[in-house]
């Protein structure tokens, strides 16, 4: 019976089993089949995965050099383009759309012998915090199927949570990797903005989006990041900064990290009391273990969510203009007298779901002349202030910790009628996207309601090495 703990263990298994990749793929295919009701996958590339597994097994047998992710099964959130495969952003508007190119991240995974096992359900165009906005149905949290897995990368989180894939890639615009990781009890990493190329990631909000990683362990996330990070000729916002060998440079021994947490974050009225007290207790644990943990004043907390929603919807309103029914994807049936404007209106009204339409409208509004300065310009100014304040914090501290989400996974349908309340669930995660720093949610806690929850750790730009090292140390202090 195959079981997966970590990529490292799996590689040992492969060294001893000449048909190891095929065994693994078969195992996962049957797990996916058994857990179909969770609705994690929109499509499983079964035949191809089996074929790749066979080829990789042969490659190993032949003694050829092996990729760093040799035989590792990876699932893709349905916003990441994989050549000659459908990609839909869980939206009707991309009905039957097949990508004609590979996302840079996918290209890099394939070059290291990874096996792409399928594509995961998500909130439509990555807009949502519960995976209830998918055109292809809700995804269930495998720990409690009456609860949401979080969003927008809900399917991807469940894929790792329920053992349906070793690794999955999601995207994180305001917490879409960290929040579902928190809800599902797995590791969820959002790298620094610009660390991983966005080429081939269907855009929600370009200056916020970043491909993120779901994994069982910090080490696995580190290894995958090492592969997919780096400069890209096709993305001018991808950084030229050298990519460290995260997997081998992870420091297990303690460096004297200085850690900050925001007073306002832990005292926020929306924060679940038990989560607050668990984190307070954990802070003491960290202090006892020799870390310096101090509270920092952060008075901009309440501006974060509005700023985030103004800027992301503005960008989204423009990014989603290309889905117009003209070139590809869904086109409405038209009446004879309908003109071009009707084609746009009908195709987009029928093709986009409610939440996506809400955000397009909001974004169009905040960019309109007459409102631009009051909303868009103002929000940009707040973003700049946040960046300045963050810079100051990292002059004194190596990391910031906070809850990942104010509550544990809520019930399906519980918040779907209240967008504002849903937006507030992002209060702790959107900060990292606004300022571009890396963040991770690590599964440290269990609530009395039976659900897991995580701790969010953030470090300064491009300091994923400290982020991952500290996270790994923290996992060893798991309550």
């Amino acid at each position: 019976m195959f079981s997966f703990q970590s990529i490292k263990n799996y590689q040992t298994f492969l060294a001893e089993n000449s048909d190891g990749c095929s065994v693994a793929v078969n195992h996962y295919l049957s797990e996916i089949e058994k857990n179909k009701h969770l609705n994690s996958f929109l499509e499983v590339f079964a035949a191809e995965a089996l074929q790749s597994a066979k080829e990789l097994d042969a490659k190993r047998k032949a003694g050829k050099p092996l990729g760093k992710l040799h035989g590792v099964l990876i699932a893709l959130k349905d916003v990441i383009c994989y050549k000659d495969h459908q990609v839909s952003a869980s939206s009707k508007i991309l009905t039957n759309f097949t990508s004609i190119y590979n996302a840079t991240a996918v290209e890099k995974l394939l070059a290291e012998d990874a096996i792409i096992i399928g594509r995961n359900n998500c909130d439509e165009f990555a807009m949502g915090s519960s995976n209830e906005n998918s055109a292809f149905g809700i995804v269930k949290n495998a720990i409690d199927e009456t609860r949401v897995p979080g969003g927008s990368s809900g399917g991807s989180a469940v894929a790792v949570q329920a053992g349906l894939s070793m690794i999955s890639l999601g995207s994180d615009t305001g917490g879409s990797v960290r929040q579902p990781a928190d809800f599902c009890g797995v590791v969820g990493l959002k790298p620094t903005y610009g660390r991983v190329s966005r080429y081939g990631l269907i855009a929600y909000a370009s200056s916020f989006d970043q491909i993120g990683i779901f994994a069982n362990t910090v080490d696995d996330a580190a290894l995958v990041l090492e592969i997919i990070a780096g400069a890209d000729d096709f993305d001018s916002t991808a950084s030229e900064q050298k990519v460290p060998f995260y997997s081998s440079e992870l420091k297990e021994e303690k460096k004297s990290y200085r850690i900050a947490y925001f007073k306002q974050a832990l005292e926020h009225p929306g924060l679940d009391k038990e989560i607050a007290s668990s984190i307070q207790t954990y802070i003491q644990t960290l202090k006892d273990a020799g870390y310096i943990v101090e509270t920092v004043d952060f008075d901009l907390l309440n501006y974060i969510v509005p700023t985030y929603y103004i800027l992301t919807t503005a960008e989204a309103s423009s990014n989603l203009s290309r889905f117009d029914g003209v070139k590809y994807g869904y086109r409405a049936d038209l009446n004879k007298e309908d003109d071009l404007t009707e084609l746009y209106k009908k195709s987009r009204s029928e093709g986009f779901g409610k939440e996506v339409q809400r955000r397009i409208l909001l974004g169009t509004f905040v960019l309109s002349s007459g409102y631009y300065d009051a909303y868009f310009t103002k929000a940009q100014q707040v973003r700049r202030m946040l960046c300045d304040q963050t810079k100051k914090i990292f002059e004194e501290y190596d990391a910031i910790i906070s809850p990942t989400v104010p509550t544990t996974a809520f019930k399906i349908g519980e918040k779907s009628d209240d967008p504002i309340e849903m937006f507030l669930a992002d209060i702790y995660t959107v900060y990292a996207n606004l300022v571009g720093i890396p963040g991770i949610s690590i599964p440290l806690f269990k609530h009395s309601n039976g659900m897991p929850f995580g701790l969010q750790v953030m470090t300064k730009h491009f300091d994923e090495l400290s982020l991952l090292s500290l996270s790994k140390q923290m996992m060893q202090l798991k309550p």
Partner: protein, 478 residues
Amino acid sequence: MEDKYEAVIGLEVHAQLQTASKLFCGDSIAFGAKPNSHVSPITLGHPGTLPKTNKKAVEYAIKLGLACNCEIEENNYFARKNYFYPDLPKGYQISQHTTPICKGGFVKIKTTEGERNVQLNRIHMEEDAGKSIHDRDDDYTCVDLNRAGTALVEIVTEPDLHSSDEAYQYVTELRRLVRWIDICDGNMEEGSLRCDANVSVRLKGEKKLGTKVEVKNLNSIRNVKKAIDFEIQRMINIIENGGTITQQTRSFDASNDTTFSLRDKEEANDYRYFPDPDLAPFHLTKDFINKIQSSLPTLPNQLIHQYQNEFGLSDYDAAQLCDEKHTADFFQSTIQFTQHYKAVANWITGPIRQYLNEHHLSFETILLSPKTLAELIKIVDDGKVNFSVASSHLLPLLMKENKDPLQLAEELNLLQVSDSNELEEWVNEAINKMSDKVVEYKKGKKGLIGLFVGEVKKLSKGKADPKIVTALLQEKLK
């Protein structure tokens, strides 16, 4: 009646930059390819694709800005102009509309009142849209995206032009400039240079601008002039008849030299410009700008002055040589080998250009080497071959194959004869032939000498050296 009014004209010229690839991706920009063949996923606006700025296009835009005396903006970013249209694949155009790379500046034009600077507002970069073809199919509009994403610069004047003639001069000058610095082929028929005109009229002395009309679809410089003429007259007629001008976008109809309304400009479209988050802002260093400055060729206006002042060429000759850069380059190369500037100018603007025109060739691809031309000038100057023989017999051969002109003249037996015995025979023959004219000459009609020289020329088949022949005739007819 027209004297009461003054026209105010501003021009927006779009020039396609002849970079190898598009402004934000690697697709070719070659004209005339099969529809939708230069279309990567990026041009097609496929989900997940991103733009990346073509550095060459930035360089070209700066080149033009420097050539037009603009101030170059060091901190730049691209914005998105949002609107829906089938030939705009992303639903927005990436443009610098809000923050142009080149500000201010001017273009010098010649008017009937002398030289004048036409003030520019700006030059900015943007990507071109695709083409919508409405007349191909009865039921559908066809869209060709080959052109989508091609790098453009838009050169916008202040409302600083006051007649169709000035507009004509301005576009002509601008076209020469973009060709001169080699950033655009200036071909208006193929649309690599496109012009929109904003026209309004007002009573002379009035400070306020009249309601403007934008005229599009001007696909030749002549049509720019015709459309403006038509518009000015149309507007004056409306005002004179007590009407008011409606702000409109109009199109020029080349079949009858008129304009017609495309749409009234009700509410201005809200394009919701905002900085494109897919493209990092870019900073231009002074060093980079200076490098481009020093790579610029001498511009035609400077060159014209130089040719007049240093080489003593006439206005006309200097202007002719600087009509396009390859001509000037050829002149420049030839004067490395000879100091006879005027002769070089005459050869270039006369027989050489005529030959090229007749054979549909150009100075860009000319086979005649500057050195050969210099030698040809020298043998004419030395009296070895006369000009008419050189231009009618030697030049056509030298345009096909570089040979030593003197040797060629020898081979063809075209050298001028200065041997007096041989000349004397022709002179005597001419005098004998025209004995009546000899009488007249001797009576004082000295002008007839030309007739005798001409006769000798004929008899010698052009080989007789006219100077010696003249002297000889004068001697004989004393």
